[in-house]
Subunit: 406 residues, 2 copies
Amino acid sequence: MTVLTDLTAHAGPTTTPAAAGAPTPKAAPAPAPASSIHPMVDRSRLAGTDAQSSAAHRVYEHLVALWAPGVIEAAQDLGAFAALTSGPATAAELARTLDTDPRATRVLLDGLHAYDIVERAMTEDGEIRYTLPVELHDVFSPGGLYSLAGKINYDRSLAWNAWRDLAHNVRTGARDAEGGHQLNQISEEEYTSLVRGINFWAPPIVSALADALREQGWSTGDGAKVLDVGCGTGIYSQLLLREFPLLTARGLDVARITPIAIRQAKELGVADRFEPTVVDFFHDSWGGGDLALFVNIFHLQTAESARELMLKAAKEINEDGVIAIADHIVVEDTHGAPGVSDGADAAGTGSVQNRFFRLFAASMLATGGGDAYTVEEYDGWLADAGLRRIALIDTPMHRLLLAKRA
Amino acid sequence: MTVLTDLTAHAGPTTTPAAAGAPTPKAAPAPAPASSIHPMVDRSRLAGTDAQSSAAHRVYEHLVALWAPGVIEAAQDLGAFAALTSGPATAAELARTLDTDPRATRVLLDGLHAYDIVERAMTEDGEIRYTLPVELHDVFSPGGLYSLAGKINYDRSLAWNAWRDLAHNVRTGARDAEGGHQLNQISEEEYTSLVRGINFWAPPIVSALADALREQGWSTGDGAKVLDVGCGTGIYSQLLLREFPLLTARGLDVARITPIAIRQAKELGVADRFEPTVVDFFHDSWGGGDLALFVNIFHLQTAESARELMLKAAKEINEDGVIAIADHIVVEDTHGAPGVSDGADAAGTGSVQNRFFRLFAASMLATGGGDAYTVEEYDGWLADAGLRRIALIDTPMHRLLLAKRA
């Protein structure tokens, strides 16, 4: 079988090696990456405007961010994306297909265009025709592997009200009767819908993980077994199976989820190497393995249950086993630097990842869930379990932490 | 009195002169201006990711834009900004002041920091302290001249539900029983609250207007009178009175609004030159003037009532009078260019102004109102009224159209 050696010795360009206990390296100021969110204020025309009016323009731009999910989700509700997947259309044509008001349909389409969701061009006949780019067809289709349909359903049924009422949960702390964090409020049906709606995160995370494993000598994955703990659809281990053709995987989740994982393993052609297993992963055995993979599992825990889960992982993996955690892992860099903002880039708000992690924590406060923990907290749980962090890798909206026995 | 001459001959650097009937100049591809909205996806880590997953990351970033008003409005609901206006605080200190949960308060503050609303720094004691920058103090205070408090109240009571249910209005066209546009749904109380909540737009618009008027020979405004039609708080004419110390203004609005305008004229020290007048501006006389100013009035009209209002304005202004319209004036540049997207900059979505105007039209579809009309539509109404456009000037979130008699 493949033996995993210490990744620190083989750190590639995307890897931030860090010995356990060593201080976390200070993040270099990142160049401001391009946002998908285009500005709605022409700041070049604000020169000379008084500071309060200018600041109010900035805050207003944040407040009207509400419009983006409003426009996109309305189009999904109406079936506009499904219709545009059949082919481009004018507003009048789409209104006939959807049985909607023509003028209002034009306003909706122009709004989608303002968010870069549909293309807008004048035809030879002088009409405006709207096109849904091909890479977005499956994003709005419930059946698409990287579909957001489930995420949109979740937003419609839960997120809008939860976010509008966030103040309530800040007052109460969103604690349950026993004083623990409020459990995720979503119903089983909503969870089943949501679980595929966040598959899209997987490709760049699996790509980063596979690169790190190849640097450790993994070639085909022969003899190695992945434990995909709380696997959901199983997308992470299933994509890993496609990277390593002799690897096998066990997907651990509850009974209502494993059928989804089985279906998807077939769809991805890896069903013969993907074994779904219904377990309570805090109390049942995981059956041993070489790589224990936790994606978006730790942020759902309390600090206490996170520590407990790490102890369990240390017991379950083989002697040379690796633990891989893809999650919202905040890297503070204020330590020892009084008066310095953390992770400050030119915009002063820290890395893209820290920013997303902190807002995701607010999202969990709104809708129920856990927290975005810092790398120091992860290091503490690792140390308690006799493990040490060997790498921390940035991905588009997560960080990937790798650990081995200390 | 000041005589206004044709602005076309004196076009300054911010002016796009355009003779009536002449084709609108094609907008040059704009450099992408900085957005206040920081990215939440580290796109540098998406290289090599498949097109669908990459596209889904982009759409997800739009969907979670919901979080920005959620975080900011929750903080306003809880009184967090009022408390931070008194001075910086740690999460624990603020939780004591607001009687909120300490952990949840920390999550909220970190969320505000992610949106660049509060600063976050470590103190000498190793605690994280949060500061509301001084230019934001009045932005969240109900009494601030450029306060967004009214806009936030409006969002809380109306916008969230209206946006979540946008699909309904796309189906029905948001028509009233007579088939006209649905009137603005907000109550009188909400309107009174909102009217001051959009004062912040005024300074850069008035600055652009004053520059254009100075180029025409206005120095003190001696002998000239502004008609501020649908004046609201009167902020536009009141700031213009401060630019031109001998100018006088008449603010035309309904009875429930004029007391607000009178109070604010006193606050700005121009009450002796600002005369509020309760009129139905479609049917009553405006009393004549040299500059008829319409800010955010035309977008509330139907095409029919916009044309009617322009006819009325032409009758009311003096022979050499100017009409100034600050509004959402879309400049299409697809005309005569089949297959070319309109106003496309590098991002492919047109100018910042067009993008905002189209989304504001969607906002009016959600909450009731009119439309974002194109400059060709304005030119048509002008021509019908014996007027011609003499300038079109970009401002941060509007365009300023100036017209005279043809």
